[in-house]
Symmetry: C2
Subunit: 240 residues, 2 copies
């Protein structure tokens, strides 16, 4: 094997290792989010304990991925699409770490809920399902470097925001009706807010994937009511 082949090969190996770390991080925060939602809507205590327990592993993976990204940047001077992918990795690991944090925070609140007041969890269940679904699709898009999937994820977050607004009103009503509900409703409000933030970070990940793959940025503001047909083409108008 020549020296050049060897260098190229280990470069590809390092990039693959970085991708593997991101996939593991993605899998872990997906698991954390699933367990957090389960803890709240099913009152599952084991799930409530597992979600925060996974946090140190996620944090450690973020550090490792960053160290590897820096190593690749220093030793390989990657260009164009590889460089964008590594920069995206640095940003995406940050988003994944935040998602893990929010999931852990949701799970911790689940342990404090007192659901005797007849508070409905239907809204939260839908929101949880939607957020998890979007997160899963974002992590798939990351592994497949799939720009169309990234756009789909980016667009789907509007529904999460709408569910959040509806839940906010519902929980306010429960509190007004019976002050004994206040404690649990506050926790549920924060749960809903944290799910909404997980949705935001999922959107960020989709934007990063799109940029890494295409070299173009999605618009800064997501248009209400979906994107026009121009987003089916390879070029997206500059956001400025």
């Amino acid at each position: 094997m020549t020296e050049a082949t060897h260098t190229v090969k280990s470069y590809e190996q390092e990039l693959e290792r970085l991708r593997g770390m991101m996939a593991r991080m993605g899998g872990l925060v997906e698991r954390q989010t699933a367990q957090a939602v389960k803890a709240v809507v099913e009152g599952d205590e084991e799930a409530a304990i597992e979600a925060p327990d996974l946090d140190p592993e996620v944090d450690e993976l973020e550090r490792e991925a960053e160290a590897l990204a820096i190593r690749i940047l220093a030793l390989r001077s990657p260009m164009a699409i590889d460089l964008r992918e590594i920069v995206a990795a640095l940003k995406i690991t940050g988003d994944l770490e935040r998602i893990g944090d929010y999931a852990a925070s949701i799970a911790r609140r689940a342990l404090k809920l007192d659901m005797d007041g007849g508070i409905s969890l239907i809204g939260l269940r839908s929101m949880g399902r939607l957020v998890q679904d979007n997160l899963r699709r974002a992590i798939d898009a990351l592994a497949a470097r799939d720009r169309d999937q990234a756009i789909a994820v980016w667009q789907a977050d509007t529904a999460v925001d709408e569910l959040y607004t509806a839940m906010f009103r519902e929980l306010m009503t429960y509190m007004m009706e019976d002050p004994r509900n206040i404690g649990s409703c506050i926790h549920l409000l924060f749960v809903a807010k944290n799910l909404e933030r997980i949705g935001d970070h999922t959107t960020n990940i989709a934007e990063r994937i799109y940029y890494a793959v295409t070299g173009e940025m999605l618009p800064a503001v997501r248009p209400r009511g979906g994107l026009g047909p121009q987003y089916a083409s390879a070029t997206v108008p500059d956001a400025r």
Copy 2:
């Protein structure tokens, strides 16, 4: 001027430009945070409007800083401390952008507050002052690449968390006492939470500065009651 001198010079210029962008971003989110706190504790409507108005400029600076960082990575292949600084910049702009988002969110809530229910804002005022003070010091540490200042900021966040917990209890009491307070108290709870999150991101920035300057990471978990004397030395134990 030789070609080599010219290259070195424009490399330094580009790094200085990146630092300038970070400083501008830092100044903007400091301003957003100050206006957000003012909006809530003084009921200042102009301040409440200004904080979210600055958001697009912050977002745009994040994009520009990222584009410049990628450019420097691609064309200059920086090594060691410069490489760490650029990677830190990519992460820190993300934290600054989130801080701006939280400040904007606080300011928007300020417009919805009805403070006729005799709710005390003393706790929030202290929390706001502490968070702003810490943010200012983090941004100064960033400009000066000052590791000692970074450690000080990192340590100071414990006080923010304690104030948050106290505020949470206080606001719960107001709600229990009089359901008419619920609406405003919910907004204030989210304001307090957002200030706490600004504190978290400020801590992240401090960790990044420390790493960029020293090549070492601060421990993953901040010890309660302050750091021991070993943190006065140049080496920090590995967090793993």
